[in-house]
Subunit: 436 residues, 2 copies
């Protein structure tokens, strides 16, 4: 295994970068839990038949096959890796509905897999952090608002560039298209969803090819241009003169969410999202200064994904693309860290025979929750300190000489060296924190 | 997706159980980091060719296939899900050796997959927590001891029954077999490794079938019976009268680890471990009172798994079977929890119109890091408190009546209800902690 090359689309980070990714995940987890969202994990595999129910995703699915398949294996349900966390979650809720308390709030931070062509921030294996709420029979609009608010707060707590969250409603788009007399709603939605990739002209051409006349095409392009920060600005949609009850319902809902959003949110009526399962609110977020990179978070309302026992289980979810954020931010040079280890202290050793004295210091620091390493090599202090710098460990500890109990600790960044008691000394959090 | 049945071998936990699993993972992570082991994650897939290098594991491997495979897909390297975290880690180190600092300490908590027949605690998808150290050219015995000590300390910090750690050395077994004049060492190792499953008699029969004569078979059974808590007790091996330099080397190393282990460790010379890649120390741990369930942790030294640039990269790793521990402990009824959510407080609502007052309380609690929920339904306080009990939320909060600022908080277990300030009150950690 000595010669290997990375697999395109399957990112792996160096230790200093994984520390950053773990910090991102820790912050997301903490924020989700503050709102009472609890962790679950679903298995990585789903039945292929369940995955294929959710529309045009089959080309992206990785199916599983046991290498030494025998009769028993062939009889197994055909399995594949999940391509998102929403479909598995809905299946989990349907399966366990009698043992859950609704509305059910959960978060889930796991990898997902899609066999897409890799590009910057778009991977074949990627980590997502999802928060969802699923109600029994009903899920109120304020639950949608809660999740949108939680998403915004979580993103603000991450050391990343500002994210612009854009929101829309499938009801508005479907109602509008229906009001135009169209019946290929799903096809039109998918075409409009490509606006960021193929541009308005491309969308126009594709719509004409899909059978829309010039007026219908113009109307579809016009509504996709509407952006609104306030409910009033949504009147631009009504000004297009299309009438439909579902359109009205969608506009009312979107107005309500905008009104309650306390800012930081805008309606953008070209947002459609690729998945078929959304039935109401849809949203996505892009880096405000780099929108061309594509979405870093997304979400929406799904009324028919989970169900069971004759009850509807409508849900709403938001999803943060952890791997994608990592990819973008690394590309921008944002996540560079000196730290290559969680150790905050490197305890030096005088020489090999006195190693146990240094180990005893480390044990005392660890007992108080301070991560540390003991020098791996007997060498001059200067060389050991160089090693601390290579590892990005912020402090070095000078153990006592034999027969004494005089310890010293040195902050390598400031150069300050002071006497210290291994049972009391605490590292300065501003020295040990990751740098963002 | 309304009718589903669980997939055998792919466990999923309910929220109250996932909270326990997250607590286990949190404690393992903290302990690994205290010793300066840093997180990494490897991709879930490896090249099939790399996985097959490691011996008799092919029947357990899940290969990947894109559902809509085309020419491009067919040309892709054949990929499969990893069956452990050691092989991917060794590949990662080989691949990144120029960018890592050695000895390199890392931990990794991820799922792995094996297409085995599912049984109690043995799953097809399972989470493992591994800590490994890899040196450049050399890895000293004290590094092995460090990992064994870390493993013991980590297990002691988990809310699980006592684990008995048994240690051996491949050098002892291979040297001993060689000293007996055997040349089918790998075959003999694999047979001896099955002792816990097929018993001593079964091993004896299998060894005879593998071509060993009666004396050789007896000797192999005799060394497998040796157990030792101290270096002196290892003399029982020398008493068997077999001579071999590798045997001597193994005995010296094992004695040294036992001597330095500060107790809590015993040598058990039947331990062989299934993987071909181990070259020295091997270990496994079982629940002291339920050894028949099989190992809950394992590990060993591997000299030839990673390499690169003309250098050897010898390693040692330990692995805790998180999913297996979950399975065993759940079976024993150990992990039952009232808590179904991370929320520590349910903020009640007077009525729907005053919901925003309760939301304001929740915002103040969250700002100080206290996870909380606001009642989802306008109902009598009694009904809302019942909901808190169902969710296992330990406190309920009575928001102020309109125009006042008089808050009260109630500990549902003790029944104590007291005035409280949402900017100062802190929950009692003994009330909010999970119960083990």
């Amino acid at each position: 295994m000595s010669k290997t090359t990375p697999l395109s689309g399957f990112p792996e980070w160096l230790p200093e970068t994984e520390l950053v990714q773990q910090e991102l995940i820790r912050r997301v987890r903490r924020r989700f839990e503050l709102y009472g969202y609890g962790p679950i994990q679903t298995r990585s595999v789903e039945r292929v038949s369940d995955l294929l129910k959710q529309g045009e995703t089959d080309k992206e699915i990785y199916a599983l096959q046991r290498l030494a398949a025998d009769a028993e294996a062939a009889a197994e349900a055909k399995l594949a890796l999940h391509y998102d966390l929403t479909v598995p979650f809905a299946r989990y809720v349907s399966e366990n509905r009698g043992r859950l308390i609704f509305p059910f709030r959960r978060y889930q931070i796991q990898p997902a897999w899609r066999g897409e062509r890799p590009q910057l921030g778009r991977y074949r294996e990627f980590i997502q952090a999802d928060a969802d709420i699923i109600g029994q029979d009903v899920l109120e609009l304020r639950h949608e608002a809660e999740l949108i608010y939680l998403l915004r707060e979580t993103l603000q707590d991450l050391p990343i560039p500002k994210v612009r969250i854009m929101i829309n409603s499938r009801k508005i788009l479907e109602g509008f298209y229906r009001g135009l007399g169209l019946d290929n709603l799903v096809e039109v939605l998918r075409i409009v969803d490509k606006r960021d990739k193929i541009g308005e002209e491309g969308v126009g051409r594709a719509l004409r090819e899909a059978g829309l006349d010039k007026e219908q095409t113009e109307a579809c392009l016009a509504i996709a241009r509407v952006e609104a920060e306030t409910p009033e600005e949504l009147d631009a949609v009504r000004a297009l003169g299309v009438q439909d009850p579902l359109l009205d319902e969608g506009l009312t809902e979107l107005s309500s969410i905008l009104a309650g959003s306390r800012g930081g949110l805008s309606a953008a009526l070209h947002i459609a999202r690729g998945f078929d399962y959304y039935t109401g609110t849809v949203l996505e977020g892009v880096l405000e200064d780099r929108p061309e990179l594509g979405s870093v978070c997304s979400g929406g309302r799904y009324d028919d994904l989970a169900a069971g026992g004759g009850k509807k289980l409508p849900g709403m979810g938001v999803s943060i693309g952890i791997s994608r954020l990592m990819g973008f931010c690394l590309e921008m040079g944002l996540f560079e860290q000196p730290r290559k280890t969680p150790a905050q202290v490197l305890v030096l050793i005088h020489d090999e025979p006195s190693r146990s004295r240094s180990e005893a210091v480390a044990a005392r620091l660890r007992a108080r929750g301070i991560p540390c390493l003991v020098s791996d090599k007997d060498a001059a202090y200067g060389k050991q300190i160089k090693r601390a710098n290579q590892l990005g460990v912020p402090y070095v500890w000078f153990p006592p000489a034999e027969g004494t109990d005089e310890h010293e600790v040195k902050d390598l960044a400031s150069g300050d060296q002071t006497p210290a008691d291994p049972d009391r000394w605490v590292p300065d959090p501003s020295v040990t924190a990751l740098r963002f």
